[in-house]
């Protein structure tokens, strides 16, 4: 194994081999240069966002762009935060995000356990239906869902974003968890049964605690989805005091579009928690997406 291959995280054989095929110094240098170009391209818009967010008023429209804010004005963030009821938006977003997370984790786990461990007639057919609904475009069900929520009096409430989570959440979550349950040894179930545990006791006390990594993956997907969700709130929430951050940021940019620096401060504020979650739980992100990729195999 080459010395640098030992430095990268342990992974499949593909990577080690690929690194052997690009062994020469010139080859590695080329890869570095290309990767630097790639990350320059992906990061430049983000750098532009952060740099603009700190610019003093009047300099944010300068062209050619002055990249270093002189002096950096941190107050832009405070002003942007106060210009609209950001705390209310944040609270609303957190209520939806946290309650929906609880529902997603509990119900998707239980359903996944059923599909992975319990034998019942029609299981395969129902699982195929579940796989098919992963791909169902949201906009196909959007109108009738709006009708349903309207007749239930749920328009301008948080129920439409929380209640469905307690009914399995997104089918993708169920699929991911089911794949994880399948990797746990059957002997665990048998031992629990021998100890007198019923099916649900076996799930709750024996298997569920072992699915931590997969639950973390689903938790992150659920958090990010609800934090970023725009279309649902756009259609269903119509009074300011019920707005989520995603709607609040639009409200802000509609009202204060002239203040580019503050608008960029607002978008940065909304992006930062995602970046933080990403850096804290990077491996779960990657694992979750790896697992979704397994459907292709």
């Amino acid at each position: 194994m080459s010395e640098s291959a030992a430095l990268v995280e342990p992974s499949g054989s593909g990577r080690q081999l690929a690194s052997q095929s690009v062994r020469s110094r010139a080859g590695r240098l080329t890869v570095h240069v290309l990767l630097l170009l790639v990350v320059a391209a992906t990061s430049l818009p983000l750098l532009y966002m952060v740099s603009t967010s700190l610019k003093p008023e009047g300099t944010e429209y300068d062209f050619p762009i002055r990249w270093i804010p002189d002096p950096p004005v941190w107050e832009n963030y405070l002003k942007a935060f106060r210009a609209v009821p950001t705390l209310t938006f944040l609270r609303n977003t957190l209520v939806i995000t946290v309650l929906s997370l609880v529902g997603d984790l509990l119900s998707a786990s239980l359903v996944a356990y059923g599909f992975a461990r319990l034998r019942f007639p029609g299981r395969e057919a129902l699982f195929t239906v579940l796989l098919a609904t992963i791909m169902l475009p949201f906009f196909v069900v959007m109108i009738p869902l709006f009708v349903l929520y309207r007749s239930l009096g749920w328009v301008n409430t948080f129920y439409p974003f929380i209640v469905p989570s307690f009914f399995g959440g997104h089918p993708l979550y169920i699929f991911l968890l089911r794949q994880f349950y399948l990797t746990l040894p059957r002997e665990l179930d048998d031992a629990a049964r021998i100890d007198g545990a019923g099916f649900f006791r076996t799930w709750w006390s024996v298997l569920l605690p072992l699915t931590g990594p997969a639950l973390a993956t689903v938790a992150i997907m659920s958090l990010i989805f609800n934090w970023n969700n725009f279309t649902g709130p756009l259609i269903l929430l119509n009074s300011r005091d019920r707005f989520t951050l995603a709607l609040g940021i639009r409200l802000f940019s509609d009202q204060y579009r002239m203040l580019l620096n503050q608008t960029m401060a607002y978008t940065t504020m909304m992006t930062l928690p995602i970046v933080a979650v990403f850096f804290l739980f990077q491996k779960y992100f990657v694992r979750g997406i790896n697992m979704t990729g397994l459907t292709g195999r």
């Binding site: 640098s4 995280e9 499949g12 054989s13 593909g14 990577r15 080690q16 081999l17 690929a18 095929s21 890869v31 570095h32 290309l34 990767l35 790639v38 990061s43 430049l44 818009p45 983000l46 966002m49 429209y61 062209f63 359903v111 356990y113 059923g114 599909f115 319990l118 034998r119 019942f120 007639p121 129902l126 609904t133 475009p137 906009f139 196909v140 069900v141 109108i143 009738p144 869902l145 709006f146 009708v147 307690f166 009914f167 399995g168 089918p171 021998i194 649900f200 799930w203 990010i224 970023n228 725009f230 940021i249 940019s253 992006t271 970046v275 990403f278 850096f279 790896n290 990729g293 292709g296």
Partner: protein, 317 residues
């Protein structure tokens, strides 16, 4: 054996006798438990997916403006669909966007994944920076890119000036607005890239070794080993990508609102307008069904065509 284990054995005996007396067999009990376990999802499926799809089908044949009660209108909405000049425009725009965005997005994602797969020093940092844009809230990135594309002070024109290209009007240019959206889609290549990386790491080493013994160079290794072995992953990304790009909405809604003129009017934006701006729920349902049928046809088509180019391990051809 531990005392606990012996105790467990005794308990089993007890349970078995108990089970024999019970009316339901163990298999039946398991089946009932199974149905109870999946019940939340089953109910959700009925109320939040199948029910709405059915309701949407019925809505197609009604005239309904939300505030007045719906009335049966027969095929009126379908006739409107056939005569609506906006529909071909929206379909063309969406298809045009998809045909450009999906291949460029996938090619870029694969390219970056291949580079990352080499595993040079600092790969972790490169990976993070390439991945982050895809996780940014779409509202935030739409607002950001709206300013990046500014004809007078935007970053996009700044970059062009570095390579000596005159400034463009981007979102305000009939011909550039769709390519501008494609650029945004390419920028957010992270998810597809990670899936490609996973696929690449699943390619068995022996294949590369065998090919190298046969004297294959880097290009031939890619063309004859990597690509075929990666083809199931490519198919997955392709299908997800097409479905996703056919539903492009948030960024056009926030950045162009379909403009200039109708140059970026996309199918879902048109559905949204009909449903929640013009309150034509029946007609919007027709358009939603059109979206469903198109997505279904494209998905089935891709699966069919995939037989020609996707290679599955263990399959005898």
């Amino acid at each position: 054996m531990s005392p606990k284990g012996i105790g467990a054995l005794g308990l089993t005996a007890l349970f078995q006798r108990h089970g024999q007396r019970h009316r339901l067999s163990l298999l039946q009990q398991e089946a009932i438990a199974g149905y109870i376990a999946i019940l939340p999802w089953l109910l959700g499926l009925v109320f939040f997916a199948l029910g709405p799809i059915l309701a949407s089908f019925i809505l197609m044949f009604t005239h309904w403006e939300v505030l007045t009660p719906p009335r049966f209108s027969g095929l009126e909405n379908l006739q409107r669909l056939a005569a609506d000049p906006m529909v071909p425009i929206a379909l063309f725009n969406t298809l045009f966007y998809t045909v450009l965005a999906v291949p460029f997005h996938l090619a870029a994602a694969l390219f970056v994944a291949l580079l990352l797969n080499v595993g040079v020093k600092g790969t972790n940092i490169y990976r993070v920076l390439a991945y982050l844009p895809s996780q940014m809230p779409v509202v935030a990135s739409s607002i950001l890119w709206f300013f990046i594309f500014s004809p007078t002070y935007g970053l996009a024109n700044q970059v062009l000036s570095w390579v000596g290209i005159p400034p463009q009007k981007w979102l305000w240019d009939v011909f550039l607005v769709k390519p501008s959206l494609v650029l945004m889609a390419v920028w957010a290549l992270g998810n597809s890239m990670i899936i490609f990386l996973a696929g690449l790491q699943g390619v068995p080493e022996v294949l590369y070794e065998a090919a190298k013994i046969d004297g294959a160079n880097v290009w031939r290794l890619f063309r004859h080993v990597t690509l075929p072995m990666l083809s199931p992953t490519i198919l997955f990304n392709l299908i997800v990508g097409v479905i996703g790009s056919f539903q492009i909405f948030t960024n056009v809604f926030l950045m162009t609102d379909g403009g200039p003129g109708t140059a970026s009017l996309m199918l879902v934006l048109y559905i949204y307008r009909n449903a929640f701006v013009y309150f034509r729920m029946g007609y919007a349902s027709v358009l939603a069904w059109l979206l469903l049928i198109i997505v279904l046809i494209l998905t089935v088509l891709q699966f069919r065509l995939s037989r020609l180019w996707v290679f599955y391990e263990g399959e005898v051809k």
